[in-house]
């Protein structure tokens, strides 16, 4: 019954896969609404128990499939509202454990392009994002690695800097601090990897992440390489052969490649695909994530 925490990857999927998302340097123009669905498939067999890399015959491969609705509306050219809602399905390929599926967390963010400086051959922009997420169903946080998530309400503060050459090449860097509420279990006592508590409430450590991407964006093509580092600010390791627990320390480093294409034949349509791989982690699965999505932009206000 070894497991890994997986839900961070889930939390990460939007980061890895959406254009005009919270971590990038793009904005929808005023009155535009970009929406669509993204499907992702994430799987791991090996995981890190503390810093020990291992697999587990009682789990085999853990697969998470997610179908996420995405929407991004331009309130102004500088202020966007971004909404995401994933439906998730988790399964283990070996062992007896029952899979889980359901709506996970609704995420709503306000992205504000608070600074912009144009140079002769380039542009620098800075963004602040305030993101709020909360569970949309009564899924259990006490069933890792098959829980849909932590069942916490989160508030993330993000700063993003983006530098883009007129030639199309860009570099983007983003960092966020995420405050997480406590979570509740269906049981009245638990061990969090360090101490024993007579409570059904679990104190959840906060999270910090850094996201860096370099790529090319011009005409119908966007392509980028990404690096993500996410660390739990607290929490403890899995015990040896121990059950994973919602508040464990869960760190990972992930690399990903993303392509987005706007087929010239269909105006306002965007296709996107990405692949990601966890290169290092702690109390996390070493997952490979594939994603594909279709987005369409409605323009309620003609470009000025």
């Amino acid at each position: 019954m070894k497991k890994i925490y997986f839900f961070f990857l889930v939390g990460l999927i939007p980061v890895l896969t959406s254009a005009q998302t919270t971590t990038d340097g793009l904005m929808m123009s005023k009155g535009s609404f970009c929406t669509g669905f993204m499907y992702s498939h994430d799987q791991w067999k090996n995981y890190w128990e503390g810093d020990l890399k291992r697999d587990n015959g009682n789990l085999g491969k853990i697969t998470t499939q997610s179908l996420m609705w995405f929407g991004n509306y331009g309130i102004t050219n500088k202020i966007n509202v971004i909404v995401m809602l994933p439906y998730m399905k988790m399964d283990a390929s070996q062992g007896t454990l029952h899979g889980m599926q359901g709506l996970q967390d609704l995420s709503m963010g306000v992205k504000y392009n608070f600074f912009k400086k144009e140079f002769a051959k380039s542009t620098f922009k800075a963004f602040g994002v305030l993101n709020f997420s909360t569970p949309m169903s009564n899924y259990t946080p006490d069933y890792f690695p098959l829980s849909l998530g932590t069942h916490t309400t989160n508030i993330a503060y993000r700063l993003t800097a983006n530098y883009k050459l007129k030639s199309g090449w860009f570099i983007n860097a983003s960092g966020a601090y995420t405050w997480r509420s406590n979570t509740k279990l269906d049981r009245i006592a638990y061990d969090d990897g360090n101490d024993f508590y007579l409570s059904d409430e679990v104190k959840m450590p906060n999270v910090f992440d850094v996201f860096v991407s370099v790529g090319y964006l011009k005409g119908p093509l966007q392509a980028e390489l990404e690096f993500i580092q996410q660390n739990t600010l607290g929490g403890y390791d899995l015990y040896r052969q121990g059950m994973p627990f919602v508040s464990n320390k869960m760190n990972f480093s992930k690399v990903a490649a993303l392509v987005m294409y706007y087929p010239p034949q269909v105006k306002n349509l965007a296709l996107r695909a990405s692949v990601g791989y966890t290169v290092n982690g702690r109390n996390m699965g070493q997952s490979t994530t594939l994603m594909g999505g279709v987005l369409y932009t409605f323009k309620f206000i003609k470009n000025q």
Binding site: N58, T76, I79, H98, D191, F196, S199, D200, R240, M243
Partner: protein, 547 residues
């Protein structure tokens, strides 16, 4: 201008939301808070309450006093030391009082917190601590590269795997040894306290403050120190890798007794010595209760399967990958030529055999097919409500086990009853000897029949919690819960309905989670109630409720 206002609104919202997490602190609500114990009855006659006494290895008050009064040096020598102990004007005792006054004048906040912590009652505190130890050590060994599993080694407890693997049978035995030893030690403490009848320092010297509730309980030997000594010694035997934590807690408890003005240093020294001597008697019982034979050998495991096959049954196999040896197959099994099982507290071997549940349906029968189909129904209809029940009672790896869960349930009733320490110890002792005997009776049944789990008979069945690595018939949760609810209903008859409902829910949770058949849970629950009844029968005549 307009964008300026917008900026203002955004900044304001940011600020407000930024402040939200800062103002929301993450302190969690803890259950089972203890307030300073003020017992409604001191139970001055506790020394007359009967001990469990089935054979020569059981520990009675007579054995304890004999050991304490014939050891070298003697812990107690009432014929010769009563006068000196009783002389509260001796220089030695005055020096002890002076030392307490000095300590009390310099108490730090941390020391005051320690006093407050232990004033909630030593028996309740230790029960909480033990539950934490069980949860911490309830971890199955990880498989080796060759697919075999290492066995935890009591002589090398810090290694991987840690010793012990505090699985349900181990845990039930641990809870019972600690509780039984605490109970007998406190009865002996009561015996000597009323024999010497020396009062607490705060009564003997008005300059000594009482930082815990005042009682008329004599203080030589200090019952807190007795409890610290007996508990620490038992826990070091049962959880040797936790020696540091155990030793520190025990020392804290003695310090709390001293700093609070409840006991002097000689009260404490004698209490500690008595506690340790009681632990030595129980340790001797533990070393001879046949726990060492509970794991068995590969050939013995195969023989269990062969026996099942000979009866026309499909034998149990481990559902783990790689296959894990069965959990403590000879912990309970009473079978001539195969195993005599671990010694029970109350049940005799004949009782265990006579009350063993009748055989479940044959694995090849139509009845078993329909039972499996019912499990399949629950597996494919795992509602959130049923999953919550499954997880409430899962009590699997990394938890304090079902016996720990029933200690958890009992603790708040015992707290609210304002029992004296010795009566609280009796309540936990009755509960935990019943749970231990339930473990033995259930493990006897499981390995007598060696029946497969539902997902062995139908591999399409998926479970809402981990499948325990031992045979299905009968359900351990059901047996534990039946026995515990029976004992708690005896202790707190006004809440019988609640305890029985909880036991039924615990039992049902195993069917809802698709890890047990209906026969396992219904027979287990009924069997547990029978086992609990043996403990209740003992308690009815132990003299504790005679007033």
């Amino acid at each position: 201008m307009k964008s300026f206002r917008f900026l203002g609104i955004i900044l304001l919202s940011f600020t407000l939301i930024l402040m939200l997490p800062v103002s929301c602190n993450k302190d969690i609500e803890l259950f089972e808070q203890l307030t300073p114990l003020e017992p409604t009855n001191l139970d001055a006659d506790a020394e007359t309450w009967l001990s469990v006494n089935n054979d020569a290895t059981d520990v009675t008050l007579a054995k304890i006093t004999t050991a304490a009064e014939t050891s070298t040096p003697k812990v107690f020598d009432p014929a010769n030391d009563a006068a000196s102990v009783g002389n509260i004007n001796s220089d030695a005792y005055k020096a002890e009082l002076a030392s307490i006054k000095d300590l009390q004048s310099k108490l730090t906040n941390d020391q005051k917190k320690i006093i407050e912590y232990w004033s909630g009652g030593g028996v309740l505190r230790w029960n909480q601590i033990i539950r934490g130890l069980v949860a911490r050590y309830n971890l199955p060994p990880a498989p080796k590269a060759d697919g075999t599993y290492p066995i935890p080694d009591a002589e090398n407890p810090f290694a991987d795997p840690n010793f012990p693997f505090a699985n349900p049978p181990y845990a039930s035995r641990a809870y019972s040894y600690v509780s039984a030893a605490q109970y007998e030690a406190l009865k002996a403490a009561w015996h000597y306290m009323y024999l010497y009848d020396r009062e607490s320092p705060y009564k003997n010297d008005s300059g000594v403050q009482s930082l815990m509730p005042k009682t008329d309980l004599p203080s030589y030997p200090s019952h807190d120190a007795v409890l610290s000594g007996v508990t620490a010694e038992m826990l070091k035997l049962l959880f040797p890798a936790a020696v540091e934590e155990i030793t520190l807690k025990a020392a804290e408890q003695r310090n709390a007794a001293l700093w609070s003005g409840r006991a002097s240093s000689s009260d404490i020294a004698k209490g500690l010595a008595l506690g340790k001597s009681v632990a030595a008697l129980f340790t001797n019982r533990a070393r001879n209760d046949r726990m060492g034979n509970a794991i068995g050998t590969k050939a013995q495991w195969q023989a269990l399967a062969d026996t099942a096959i000979a009866h026309g049954e499909k034998p149990w196999i481990s559902l783990e990958t790689p296959n894990r040896p069965p959990m403590l197959p000879f912990f309970g099994l009473r079978k001539t030529g195969v195993s005599t099982g671990v010694k029970a507290w109350i049940l005799k071997d004949a009782d265990i055999i006579a009350n063993r549940p009748v055989a479940p349906p044959l694995t090849s029968s139509g009845e078993m097919k329909s039972e499996t189909d019912e499990v399949k129904y629950y597996a494919t209809h795992l509602t959130r409500e049923r999953l919550a029940i499954v997880h409430k009672w899962a009590d699997g790896a990394g938890t304090y086990t079902p016996p720990g869960h029933w200690n958890d349930i009992a603790a708040e009733y015992i707290r609210d009853a304002n029992y004296s320490e010795v009566r609280a110890a009796r309540a936990f002792a009755l509960l935990n000897i019943a749970l231990h005997d339930a473990a033995i009776a259930c493990w006897d049944t499981k390995y007598f029949y060696f029946n497969p789990r539902p997902c062995q008979l139908d591999q399409s069945i998926k479970t809402g919690t981990g499948v325990p690595n031992f045979p299905a018939f009968t359900s351990g949760h059901s047996t534990f819960s039946g026995s515990a609810a029976t004992v708690l209903s005896f202790l707190f008859p006004g809440d019988t309905e609640y305890f029985m409902a909880q036991a039924k829910e615990a039992s049902d949770s195993r069917l809802f989670g698709a890890i047990h058949y209906r026969a396992d849970i219904e027979m287990g629950l009924a069997h547990g109630k029978v086992v609990g009844g043996f403990t209740v029968n003992f308690a009815l005549t132990d003299g504790a409720d005679d007033n």
